[in-house]
Symmetry: C2
């Protein structure tokens, strides 16, 4: 059944990336007992699913929280072939809430921080699955009224909120800008009370509007069931439903972590 | 067709995680023109695909290359609520080849380093797709003879090589151990010449055996088409075929990057 499922999935997408030449299967089957490597596919072909990278590249010019100066030189070549090393080896230093990143409950709740609710406790099943990309009206923060008007159906667990931040290309500007768009406290409360959303993604460094910075975070993180991914790169993607993969670094004890996220159709 | 595909995929997996209550669809359809949110599913249900985390957590006691002392204190709380900050904010410092990580061609080729073949050029389609987890015989490095005996079919693009390193739990030991298992140069050359593998994953800090450290890396990275993921956590997973997602940080200019990888069935 599993193999049949894979074959059907492959058929549905019109292509696959794990073809096995049928003629070469006899010997391989013996070398791989316990699973049916010969029936995965019948011929090599390319994976034609589209991929959108919705993470920002880390660069010295990217904005960091509350600073006019940007990230700066976070990366350096500690061992260099040019200077006689066998290989090049870079080192890095940055805040865990830099660029595209995730917040864990310990970010704004001291008791959760002390209780170990770090980024390594975040549920991979929430971070990976189908997601809805929506456009937020461009003239407002995300209030209860805005959330209601977005009309996100019950059952939708992951939403990427694209806002004026993307149009203004704030994540491409070195200087931190407090006028970014985010959740007001009542918008956060509406989300908690009236949706099934467990993954909130947004296109600047905080899901919360600057004026409701801590209150909105508190509302969203209190249950420890909602994951916040901030600093997403949401330009150039149509609104709609995608397959989302978000994988943060396993920084044990940290209340934030750099994360890489992609969409596939 | 797209929506039908999704519905069928959902059916195949026997469950889904993006159900939308049919009764609530009228108003939502108006709020989400351009894609058919109401036909994605008919009722909420849980995603029952299994997930295996094949990345190691970053801890002070994890091994780092050629050191007896391990990673040490790579993470610190720069801003602490306990000390009056509005939120907890940690910072981190580490080598880019720490823990579960990826090598880019610039790691061992100076001309590739200078040419910009950094981790941000690595193909997301190679890093994400079906992968084969195989057990390598426990009494040997990965030589041409071993590679031949593994009998990996043409068409297989991604392979996770589980070795004695996993049995010895080397990634759980602070002290770096040069006796780990990896590719000898002839094994690397056999892979390049006789397989379609573009993703090589292994369970200690280098794909290359210590005695062939640079030669094996050179053979594998020369074409710039093979991605090396090192320091994977491959215990507790059956050999076989999985859906693999590997997402490295977008460290522009870096020849290595921390990466998070998961398997799903």
């Amino acid at each position: 059944m599993w193999v049949q499922g894979i074959l059907l999935v492959i058929g549905l997408w019109g292509s696959h990336d794990f073809g096995v030449a049928a003629s070469s299967c006899g010997a391989q089957a013996e070398a791989h007992p316990g699973y049916d490597i010969c029936e995965v596919g019948v011929a090599p072909s390319r994976d034609e699913r589209r991929v959108w990278d919705i993470s920002h590249a880390y660069t010295p010019d990217m904005p960091v929280w509350d600073s006019p100066e940007g990230l700066g030189d976070y990366l350096w070549l500690a061992y260099s072939m040019k200077n006689g090393s066998l290989a090049n080896n870079s080192e890095m230093k940055m805040g865990t809430h830099t660029g595209t990143h995730v917040d864990a409950p310990g970010h704004v709740f001291q008791e959760y921080y002390e209780g170990g609710f770090d980024v390594d406790t975040l549920d991979l099943k929430v971070l990976n699955g189908h997601a809805l990309l929506v456009d937020v009206p461009r003239d407002t923060n995300i209030t209860a009224k805005v959330m209601e008007a977005l009309n996100i159906p019950r059952g939708v667990q992951r939403v990427l909120f694209r806002t004026l931040n993307t149009d203004r290309r704030l994540m491409w500007k070195r200087q931190f800008d407090t006028s970014y768009v985010g959740f007001m406290k009542d918008g956060a409360q509406w989300l908690v009370d009236n949706t099934d959303i467990k993954f909130v993604g947004i296109d600047y460094l905080s899901v919360a509007a600057y004026d409701d910075l801590i209150p909105s975070h508190l509302v969203l993180l209190k249950s420890k069931e909602i994951i916040l991914v901030e600093g997403l790169k949401l330009d150039g993607v149509d609104p709609g439903i995608y397959s989302l993969n978000c994988l943060p670094l396993r920084l044990v004890g940290a209340e934030g972590a750099p994360i890489r996220c992609i969409l596939m159709d």
